[in-house]
Amino acid sequence: MSIIKKIRDLDTRIIYALAWIFVLFPLISPLGLPIPISADAIAWNNYVTDEVQDGDTVIFSLMYGTSGMPELFPMSVATMKHILEKDVKIVVVHFWTEGPLVFNALLGQVDPADYGKVYGEDWIRLGYIPGSETAMGSLATSFQKTVPNDYVERKPLDSFAIMDDIKSAEDIDLIISFETGTPGTPEWLRQWNTPYGVPQITGCIGVSVPGMIPYMNSGQLKALMPGLTVSAEYEVLLNKPGLAVAGVDAVSTSHLLVVLLVIIGNVAYFMTREEGQ
């Protein structure tokens, strides 16, 4: 019984050390565990493949900072690669301060020029717009009044060919948003989906998933990419393995550790409780 007591009162630093081992080991020596494809990954892939038509205009929004990168960056890169393969116009905009920084990192992975896309004609960066939901509502009303200059060349929006046909939310065919919190999907839906009917797909961190499911069930969201695991599945579907695939072994081993600790913790608790009684 003393061993059980010791386990119950285990120094948390030993658990942290175990977490390091369970994460680092599969990263150093990949286990090659199978990656079954879930319905979420298929739905996301199908939506981008089938519903995004040539000539559409897409908003690509990175609504997260560096802290959200490990989970959201791989899916952002994969989705960007996917939509760049299509003949669509892309407007990159952020309502999170660090959004432009994250997109700079994304450009280090994906160069639109490699897909024949010309800046100002096929895609444009509007940068960060402060003001959260109010700014979202303002952008929906008028792009030109809300964002005076583009982010890269600091020129008026009207001087770019891509903006000739983009004036308000009515000219947008899809919002692709990757996000960690507020502002995020509820704000997009309130300011863009409900008043203008702009469809939306969202990639989010695991914590946000339970809050997103009602929007999926109601059809307000067309597809949802929940977390790193589904991101890895999407990379497999695209046949473009990236950071998510590289990390999915570590996801499996780390979750195994959590399950083991929960079981051991419960066993230790109930055994010592009986002893106490």
Binding site: T97, S218, G227, H255
Partner: protein, 240 residues
């Protein structure tokens, strides 16, 4: 050498933040303060950049427009009244404007987006899905659990524990526990994903800089040895 500096700084900050797992220490405080300072400074700079762009490209076009811009700036400066007891009341004005416009913008559509659409979706959910047992069970649970929780919070006091509400309340509590469990599970996923992402960086796995691996080993050794060494010395100096 210049290219390596950002990598070493990033490794130092990552390990500095994670050093809290050992115990509260100076490496952590240094990394935490640097992070907070950088984040706030970057945020302020981006906001100022936006104001400058607005001024140059748009607001400076007309006399009335520039007047409105100046008024907006003055209202914005009132935020800083928060840092002084004598002028604290001034801070309430911009706060009232921001909260008022924010709520106004949200209220415009919140009833449709987060209330009516959800009720319609609930009402449209079929009880049975042909050829899909999992889907049927899922839908039946939705029809059982959602009204249970609504009723649980609708009634208060002793009526919640009497008559049929006893059963409804039990279903509602189990539903909420399942919901919290799901949220907890996803939270674990997120925290580990963050940790995995930083580990990929520390190990220098592509597309991260390969130089990070050496920095990881050196800085981790220095931090661990310094903390363990400090603890050992402190233990020795402790009077018995």
């Amino acid at each position: 050498m210049v290219d390596l500096l950002p990598v070493w700084i990033a490794v130092f900050c990552t390990l500095g933040i994670y050093s809290i797992l050992y115990r509260e220490n100076n490496w952590f405080r240094l990394a935490e303060s640097a992070y907070l300072g950088c984040a706030v400074g970057y945020g302020v700079s981006q906001d100022l950049l936006y104001i400058r762009n607005q001024l140059i490209a748009q607001w400076s076009n007309g006399g009335l427009a520039i007047l409105l811009f100046v008024i907006t700036l003055i209202v914005g400066v009132l935020w800083y009244g928060r840092f002084n007891k004598d002028y604290f009341y001034l801070y309430r004005w911009p706060l009232a404007i921001v909260v008022g416009t924010g709520i106004g913008m949200a209220l415009k559509t919140v009833v449709f987006t987060q209330f009516l659409d959800q009720i319609i979706a609930q009402a449209n959910t079929p009880f049975f899905v042909a050829g899909d047992i999992g889907g049927t069970i899922n839908n039946l649970l939705i029809h059982l659990m959602v009204p249970s929780i609504l009723l649980y919070f609708w009634f208060t006091g002793t009526i919640r524990d009497s008559g049929p509400m006893k059963v409804v309340g039990k279903v509602a509590r189990y539903t909420m526990m399942a919901g919290f469990g799901s949220a907890y599970g996803y939270t674990i996923l997120t925290r580990y994903s963050l940790f995995i992402g930083r580990s990929q960086f520390l190990l220098g796995l592509p597309p991260n800089a390969a130089e990070a691996r050496l920095a990881f080993m050196v800085i981790a050794a220095v931090m661990l040895l310094s903390m363990i060494g400090y603890d050992m010395i402190a233990k020795k100096e402790q009077p018995e």
